[in-house]
C-alpha cells in the first residue's frame, strides 16, 4: 500500500478511533450503565463520576504503561538473562544473574564510554547554561534582542544529524597543499598552524569537538528559559542595588543570579538528561571511533551490531541508573509544587 495513503488511513483511524472511543464510552456510561434518572439517580451520577476519569485516562495509561513503564522492567529482566537460540529455532532466555554486567565491566569500550559520558556531563550542561545565561542577560534590554535571541535559538530546530553534517563541514580537512574548506583548519593555518588536522581523530580533544555540537544546540534552550526567569526578577531588588552603588557585574552576579538559581538548576538538569541520551551526534560523526564512544551509542552497538541483548540491556540500565537521581528530584519538586 502506498505509504502516504497508509498514513492518511492511520490518521483517520487513529483520530476517529480516539474520538469514537471517548464519545461512545461516555455515552455507554451515561445512557446504559449508570443512567442519571429514576430512583437511583444520585447514586448513579456519583458512580459514573468515579469511573469517568479512568475512561479519559485509559488510552494514555495503556500507551504509557506499554511503551515506557513495561520496557523499564523488561530491560531489567533482559539484562539479567542471556538470549539463546535453540537448534529448533526458538529463542529462550536463560537467567545468568549479573554476568552481563560483569562482562560489560571487563570491556575497555564500556569504561571509555563511561569516562566520555562523565566529560559530556561536566562540560555540556555547564557551557550551554553559561552561554544561555550570557545571551539572555545581554539581549535583555536590546532593541534587536528578540532577533538575536531567535537566531541563537534556531539550532534547536535542527536535527542532531543535520548538526552533525554542519559541524563535519567545519572540521573538514584537506591535504596540506590544497585550500582548506573547513573553517577550523583554515583558522588554524591562518594563526600559524603548520599542517591541517583531522580534528575528529585527535584523541581526547575530539570529544570536545563533538560536545560543541550539543552546546550549540542547547544554548538556545537555556537562553529562552533563563531569559524568562531574568524578566521575572522584581525590579526593586535591582534598583535598590544600583542605588547602593553596585556596578552592572555585581548586579548580575550578586542580585540576579542568586534569584534565578532554581531556574538555572532546572535548565542544568534538563540538559543533563539530553546529554545522557545523546546518540545521534556520536553515531553520525565518529560512531564511537577514536575514543569518542558514549553510553547510548555503546548500547546501540551492543544491541544491533553485536546482537548482544544481555550486555546491551545492561548498559541501558546504566543510563537509567544515571537518570534516576534527576527523576527522583523532579518528582519530588513536582509533588511539592502541587501541595
Amino acid at each position: 500500500m502506498n505509504p502516504a495513503l497508509q498514513a492518511l488511513i492511520t490518521i483517520i483511524v487513529g483520530v476517529g478511533g480516539c474520538v469514537g472511543y471517548f464519545y461512545l464510552s461516555n455515552q455507554f456510561l451515561d445512557k446504559v450503565l449508570f443512567v442519571p434518572r429514576g430512583k437511583n439517580a444520585g447514586r448513579n451520577i456519583n458512580r459514573a463520576n468515579m469511573i469517568r476519569p479512568w475512561l479519559f485516562l485509559l488510552p494514555a495509561l495503556l500507551a504509557l504503561g506499554l511503551y515506557l513503564a513495561y520496557p523499564v522492567v523488561e530491560t531489567l529482566r533482559l539484562s539479567l538473562t542471556e538470549r539463546v537460540t535453540r537448534p529448533d529455532g526458538t529463542t529462550i532466555y536463560n537467567w545468568v544473574g549479573l554476568d552481563n554486567y560483569r562482562q560489560m565491566m571487563a570491556e575497555p569500550k564500556f569504561w571509555e564510554a563511561l569516562r566520555n559520558n562523565a566529560m559530556w556531563l561536566l562540560v555540556v550542561p555547564a557551557l550551554a547554561t553559561a552561554f544561555g545565561l550570557l545571551a539572555a542577560q545581554l539581549t535583555d534590554r536590546l532593541k534587536w534582542g528578540n532577533i538575536a535571541k531567535s537566531l541563537i535559538f534556531m539550532p534547536m530546530a535542527i536535527s542532531f544529524v543535520g548538526a552533525a553534517v554542519i559541524f563535519k563541514l567545519i572540521y573538514d580537512m584537506r591535504p596540506v597543499d590544497q585550500e582548506q574548506i573547513g573553517v577550523l583548519n583554515a583558522l588554524y593555518l591562518y594563526f600559524g598552524g603548520t599542517e591541517p588536522k583531522a580534528w575528529l581523530t585527535v584523541p581526547l580533544w575530539n570529544n570536545f569537538f563533538l560536545m560543541a555540537v550539543l552546546v550549540w544546540i542547547q544554548t538556545g534552550f537555556a537562553m529562552v528559559i533563563l531569559s524568562a526567569a531574568l524578566r521575572g526578577i522584581p525590579e526593586e531588588t535591582i534598583e535598590a542595588a544600583i542605588v547602593d552603588g553596585a556596578n552592572p557585574f555585581q548586579v548580575f552576579f550578586k542580585i540576579k543570579v542568586p534569584q534565578i538559581k532554581g531556574t538555572i538548576m532546572v535548565v542544568w538538569t534538563t540538559i543533563t538528561i539530553v546529554v545522557l541520551k545523546v546518540f545521534d551526534i556520536v553515531f553520525a560523526m565518529t560512531n564511537g571511533q577514536w575514543g569518542t564512544q558514549v553510553l547510548a551509542n555503546y548500547m546501540y552497538d551492543k544491541l544491533f551490531r553485536a546482537n548482544d541483548w544481555g550486555v546491551g540491556s545492561a548498559s541501558a540500565m546504566v543510563i537509567m541508573l544515571l537518570v534516576t537521581p534527576i527523576l527522583v528530584w523532579n518528582v519530588r519538586n513536582a509533588r511539592k509544587e502541587m501541595k
Binding site: T10, N26, Y70, P71, F153, P155, S159, V165, L169, F283
Partner: protein, 381 residues
C-alpha cells in the same frame, strides 16, 4: 543599566558581544546553506566564506579541435569562446605553454608553434588563423588566469530532490519522513488531551500519584524501550514499519504532552468549568466545547515539539521503522548513510542536510511564539 541618564559605556560592549555571539551561532548553518548552492568544483577549491568574493583560478582549457576550422578570406580559422557567454569571467593573463602560462595580456596576437597565430580576449573569445589547414585531432591548449564572479547554482537541489534516477536522492526519504511525522504528531495530542483534562479537572483517588508518575516518565531514556518494544512488535506481528514507528512515537511523546497540557488546563479559569457543570453540560461536552478550544496554545506548543522531535528523530526510525529493504528510509538515516559513502562530496551532503533542515526551520520561525511558551511550561519547575 542606564538609569537617570547615565549612559553606560557598557552599552557598546553589549551590542558588540551580542553581535559576535549571534554570528558565532549563525555561522555554522550559514556555511551549510551557502555550500548547498555551490558546485562540487567550487566547494573543493575554496572555503564557503570565500564564495561571496570573486575568485582567481589558473585553468587549462582547450580551443576547438581542427575539425571545426572554416576557410575564409584565404585563411583557415578556428573561432570560439572558452566560457559561456555572459559568464562574467575575466581573463587577466594567458599563455599557450605550461612554462609560460601567464605570458600574454588579453588581446595580444601570438604566433603558434606549428604556424599561424592566436589571440584571446578578456571574455574568453579566441581566434586562431593559419594559411595552412590546422592538423591533429585535439584543440590548442590555452592556459588562463581567470577571475570568476561569485556563482551559485540550484543544480544540487535539482539533483537531490527532482532527479528520479538518483538513487541517493532525498525525495522519497522526504515523503517517508512526512509519513512518519504527521500521524505521530496528531494522535498523541488527542490521547494526551483527554488524559490531561482528567488529571486537571476531575477528582479521583490516585490522581496525585499519577501526575508524579508522569513527571517521572518524562525523563525515562528511550533507550530502555528499544529491545523490549522491538521484541513486542515482532511477537504481535507489527514488525518493522510505519505502524510500529507511529506507536513508538506516540508512546514516547505522551508524558510531555500530558504534562504540558495538564499544566495549561489547570490554569484555565475555574468559573467557566463550574458554570458549565451547573448548566448540566456533561464532562465530554465541557472537554470538547470549552477546554479544547481554550487550550489551543498548549496544543500548538506540544504539536511543534512533537513535530520537531519526530521529524529530526534517528533512533526510533532505525529501530522500529527501517527494515532491510530500506524502502521506508527517512531523511536522517539517508544523511547518515551519505556521510559514510559520500563523506567528501559536500555539494550532496550539504544539500541533502539542508533539505531535511529546511522544514523544521520554517516551522520554527513561523511558530516560535508557541515553542517558547511550551518550553517555559514544560521545564519542570
Amino acid at each position: 543599566m542606564d538609569i537617570a541618564g547615565k549612559k553606560s559605556s557598557l552599552t557598546w560592549a553589549v551590542h558588540i558581544s551580542v553581535l559576535l555571539l549571534v554570528a558565532l551561532w549563525l555561522f555554522p548553518t550559514l556555511g551549510l546553506l551557502v555550500s548547498s548552492f555551490r558546485t562540487a568544483d567550487q566547494i573543493s577549491t575554496s572555503g564557503w566564506w570565500a564564495s561571496m568574493f570573486p575568485t582567481q583560478q589558473n585553468l587549462t582549457l582547450r580551443a576547438g579541435a581542427p575539425e571545426l576550422q572554416v576557410f575564409e578570406d584565404g585563411l583557415y580559422v578556428i573561432e570560439g569562446a572558452l566560457f559561456e557567454p555572459d559568464s562574467g569571467k575575466e581573463i587577466s593573463r594567458w599563455g599557450i605553454s605550461s612554462r609560460a602560462y601567464d605570458a600574454y595580456a588579453p588581446g595580444e596576437i601570438v604566433p603558434l608553434n606549428k604556424g599561424g597565430e592566436i589571440t584571446l580576449g578578456a571574455g574568453g573569445q579566441y581566434r586562431m588563423s593559419n594559411a595552412e589547414p590546422f592538423t591533429g585531432s585535439r584543440g590548442q591548449r590555452i592556459f588562463v588566469t581567470v577571475t570568476s564572479p561569485p556563482e551559485f547554482t540550484l543544480r544540487n537541489y535539482q539533483n537531490v530532490l527532482f532527479d528520479p534516477s538518483n538513487r541517493e536522492g532525498m525525495a522519497k526519504a522526504f515523503l517517508n519522513t512526512l509519513t512518519v511525522t504527521i500521524p505521530a504528531t496528531i494522535i498523541p495530542i488527542l490521547i494526551a488531551a483527554f488524559a490531561a483534562y482528567a488529571l486537571a479537572w476531575m477528582e479521583f483517588p490516585g490522581r496525585a500519584l499519577l501526575i508524579a508518575a508522569i513527571v517521572g516518565l518524562l525523563v525515562v531514556p528511550l533507550q530502555l524501550a528499544l529491545i523490549p518494544l522491538l521484541k513486542l512488535h515482532n511477537e504481535i506481528g507489527i514488525g518493522k514499519g510505519y505502524l510500529g514507528a507511529w506507536l513508538a512515537h506516540t508512546g514516547f511523546g505522551l508524558p510531555l504532552a500530558i504534562y504540558l497540557l495538564r499544566n495549561y488546563m489547570v490554569g484555565l479559569p475555574r468559573d467557566i468549568i463550574e458554570n458549565a457543570r451547573v448548566d448540566g453540560a456533561t464532562e465530554f461536552q465541557i472537554f470538547t466545547k470549552i477546554i479544547l478550544p481554550l487550550s489551543f496554545p498548549a496544543l500548538a506548543s506540544f504539536a511543534i515539539f512533537q513535530f520537531l522531535w519526530t521529524w529530526n528523530d534517528l533512533l526510533v526510525a532505525l529501530v522500529f521503522l527501517i527494515d532491510s529493504t530500506g524502502e521506508t528510509t527517512v531523511m536522517t538515516k539517508q544523511i547518515v548513510e551519505l556521510l559514510g559513502t559520500r563523506g567528501g562530496n559536500w555539494e550532496i551532503l550539504a544539500t541533502s542536510a539542508f533539505v531535511s533542515i529546511a522544514v523544521p526551520l520554517l516551522v520554527f520561525f513561523a511558530m516560535q511564539k508557541y515553542l517558547v511558551r511550551g518550553l517555559l511550561a514544560g521545564s519542570v519547575k
